[in-house]
Symmetry: C2
Subunit: 229 residues, 2 copies
């Protein structure tokens, strides 16, 4: 075995970059590119070549010294590592605009995940069809998860319901929570949780702008102060 001891857990920082490699390699395949290098990959994602080689090294060398990496083989291998092709199943809880948007998105297909159903408890929503899925009553969740392979639950519901629903789903055997509600789901042993808050990154941008503006304002004030004295 060429790779490092396989039991060794891969750091989250590395896992977080695997989908990025995967996506960029996809772009390269689309444009007909056959080979790449750590430095090219790095340039594409605004990182150093070192981190790329280190990351890929975690899974055992699939590069060739003096040559680089075969785009197609590398992408396939990363896809395997990411579990694309395992055909995990997911349900969306909450059929509002967010749930409907997620259902219509390519996110599931991109990750090789099958969307198996959409649930809501609002009678107004139940029975509606969203992207070919008839919205089911959340009451049916227990039996549905029992009868279908559902490893992942997507929470597109109000923050106040998130914790309870999440706990219930975990009891039913769900092992992954993709949470878009406003309330973060706390870490739970044996459950993969990702709390997604798109607005957060917009606020981060605002922070950077304000920080910049503050510096400019301060400089202007100082300049004026100096002139005045």
């Amino acid at each position: 075995m060429n790779r490092k001891e396989i039991d060794e857990r891969v750091p989250d920082a590395v896992i977080g970059r695997l989908p990025i490699y995967y996506r960029i390699l996809g772009n390269m395949i689309e444009s007909g590119q056959l080979r790449t290098s750590s430095s090219e990959l790095a340039a594409n994602m605004g990182m150093t070549a070192s981190v790329v080689r280190q990351d890929l090294g975690y899974f055992g060398g699939f590069g060739q010294k003096g040559y680089g990496y075969g785009v197609k083989a590398l992408r396939e291998r990363i896809g395997e590592i990411l579990g694309i092709g395992e055909a995990y199943g997911a349900v969306i809880i909450g059929a509002g605009t967010l749930g409907a948007f997620l259902a219509s998105s390519d996110f599931f297909a991109d990750g090789g995940v099958f969307l198996r159903g959409i649930f809501d408890h609002d009678p107004e929503m139940i029975g509606k069809t969203i992207c070919g899925h008839v919205v089911k009553d959340t009451c049916e969740l227990s039996s549905f998860v029992g009868e279908n392979r559902v490893e992942i639950a997507v929470l597109a519901l109000p923050g106040k319901d998130a914790a309870a629903v999440s706990e219930w789903l975990v009891c039913l055997g769900v092992r992954g929570i993709w949470n878009f509600s406003s309330a973060p789901i706390a870490a739970t042993e044996g459950v993969a949780i990702r709390n997604i808050h798109p607005a957060d990154s917009l606020m981060e941008i605002c922070f950077k702008l304000r920080e910049e503006d503050d510096i400019l304002r301060r400089q202007r004030r100082e300049r004026t102060g100096n002139e005045g004295s």
Copy 2:
């Protein structure tokens, strides 16, 4: 001045947590809570109390020893730091399902950002109304950005167009890029960039599931092997 040297840049790790504090404090206000502590905040977001105190310490002590933090005052202060209230302006480029969803979302209101317009270059889209915004032709972007305060551009367009559009917008004076396209935008001096790929976190969940499954499979194999020998 009680706070640390104000020129000192705040680490990205800290910035990334500010919106989370902000959101959790919002939840606390909703439920009528008046005071909180570093350990309560930490429990709510699955972190240690130490990191909370350290983070808040960056901006100067607004806690009280032996008491904790006033929920409302703390939230207001973090809001200020985040630039909520600066009323930055944004445009969405791309009026597809993603652009339409973003326009209908609370993300802008949550961050105190004004959505000033939606643009597309598809004649089919131009003129349609999305959430009260008439979709404009991207040709009009230059003059629009010139005439309105637009600090932030939201890219909801195909990856192949992202880099060119982004560069153009930066030339027009845009200082923040919230990029939802498949192609990451490279770091640019003086521009705040956030590349958002919701599918990535779904893939991370799949990775964790596959990793877990692999371990189980290996254990089963070993057990069978031992029995067989």
